[in-house]
């Protein structure tokens, strides 16, 4: 049997899973409607309904069974709702049934429900609609003919049972203060209080420029330009710490996802993953790619020693800020 993945990709494009009907007490997170979150953790059982709309044409492309409206086809394929909740340690499948009244020759509509008792669920639940071959058919090159093959899957939907908490972002305060432990240093990242300390023993004019509050003009541009390499260095320090936190349990074979870190490490590690693994399709895949690369010693060393110094520079505005100050100085 051979598997031509292009067909699966085509099938994936033709399957659309939706939350069907209102789930009381929830709100949409983000623009695309793929994520819902309860505003407060629910206390009573509730029902979630789903509809899966499938473009009928794609079945013709992914299934060599002949007439897609025939009983033979109907008997050989099942649509399921796949759910997974890591924090609840639950994963499984729910059968979806064809809504004959709503389906047409161009699109098939499947529906299903899931009753959730919040006592047994924590964090979030991820959902996907998937098409599964339940009977094998004659092998045909380029088609998934084996029993239990996944013929296609929808984009993921997510429901937060514990209210979604948006990332607090990554802004660190800068303060002038005393740096005891090293002589002759200009700044220090104070990880305990999450603040960047500017050494109060640094020359007064340096302190004056770095702490000035001008919005525009030469001094503001000079401040921003001088400060950006500090930003780059601080982000690199945070990234190294974030990687250490992700690798805290590597001896147990466990590398944590950047999503499980606290701020500001979470934002820094996620930003790095998104820039480093742009070839991945989804953010989840980018974060997983970072986990995988940190798990392997060779790729970990490559990331930390080779990629990281460049990535943090890419994340910064150093070129733009240097260009701005250079222009102002040269033209004045």
């Amino acid at each position: 049997m051979s598997i031509k993945f292009g067909f699966k990709e085509k099938a994936d494009l033709g399957m659309e899973l939706s939350f069907f009907g209102n789930i009381k007490g929830t709100e949409k997170i983000g623009q695309d409607g793929n994520v819902l979150s309860f505003k407060e953790r629910p206390s009573k059982s509730f029902n979630v309904s789903f509809s899966l709309v499938i473009d009928a044409d794609l079945f013709s492309d992914v299934i060599p069974d002949g007439d897609i409206h025939s009983q033979k086809f109907i008997d050989s394929v099942e649509m399921k709702l796949f759910y997974e909740s890591v924090n609840s340690r639950q994963r499984g499948l729910i059968s979806l049934t064809k809504d004959a009244a709503s389906s047409s020759s161009k699109s098939f509509i499947y529906k299903g429900d899931m009753t959730i008792d919040p006592k047994y669920w924590f964090g979030e639940i991820n959902y996907k609609g998937i098409g599964i071959r339940i009977k094998e058919c004659n092998e045909k090159e380029g088609f998934k003919t084996a029993k239990n093959s996944i013929l296609g899957s929808s984009k993921e939907k997510r429901l937060y049972i514990d209210p979604f908490k948006p990332s607090s972002g990554g802004q660190l305060d800068v303060k002038i203060g005393e740096i005891h432990d090293y002589a002759g240093v200009l700044y220090k990242l104070d990880k305990k209080n999450m603040v960047v300390l500017l050494n109060n023993k640094a020359p007064k004019r340096v302190q004056q420029i770095l702490s000035c509050e001008y919005q525009t003009g030469l001094k503001a541009s000079l401040r921003d330009a001088l400060f950006e390499p500090i930003v780059i260095d601080v982000i690199e320090q945070l990234a190294r710490e974030a990687f250490q936190l992700m690798l805290a349990n590597i001896e147990d074979g466990h590398v944590d996802s950047p999503l499980n870190l606290v701020e500001p490490y979470k934002s820094v590690a996620c930003d790095i993953a998104e820039l480093l693994f742009q070839n991945q399709e989804t953010k989840e895949e980018m974060y997983q790619a970072l986990v995988n690369d940190l798990e392997d010693e060779d790729s970990r060393i490559r990331i930390i020693n080779k990629e990281l110094p460049m990535i943090v520079q890419s994340l910064s505005k150093v070129e733009k800020l240097y260009n701005s100050i250079s222009k102002q100085v040269l033209e004045s």
Binding site: K8, E84, R91, N249
Partner: protein
Amino acid sequence: MIKACKVKNKLTSKDLTPSLQFEESVEFIEYDFDLDLSDFINAFDAIKNDKKLKIEESDYKFSKIIYDILQASNADESVYYDMKFWQWLSIQHLHEYCVLRWNMNLNDIKKSHYAKLLGGGGVGGFSLHSIARLFVPANILLKEKDGDDLLNSFFSIQQKEQSISQSTLALNSNLFVSIVRATLNLNTSQTVKAISRLNARKTGICLDILDDKEIAKLALENI
């Protein structure tokens, strides 16, 4: 007998003192059931007092003990997967066990030690927690006829425990049982290969609907 509790909010490392005890600000919520931890504590005392016994080789034993304690307690199953309960239990009552099990030096706490008392994030979250990692497999496997053998096998090789617990496939209890059963008599490298093989197939084949034999066939091909 002690009154069972959970911490009010899921704890992070910031909620613990340098010696991994609760900070004063941590709040608790009482459950409506009691726990009798005497079997666990007696078994632990026996290990502490007999240098021939090795705590790291006693996971199977402690797994059964903590399972029996929870079964006898009338705790609702919703407690089993609430990390706030496990955090309370490990820090409040089984702290010494956790410290000895992972050979922690409380004067030199490593980043990895926090997860032993607080659990971790992601799929491996429960398997990193010192007590939850004992209970969860027992709660799934001991419902099976051959559950005792499966549980013993699960804890016989540390790599097996880690590989299975940290696969998203194991979130499905039926799959968890099938994978442990499929890897029953395998050595470490065979086990790792078998689980890697399943992980690699999960995007093309719906493993969640396969039975024991089908899982074993997929996992053990050419091993």
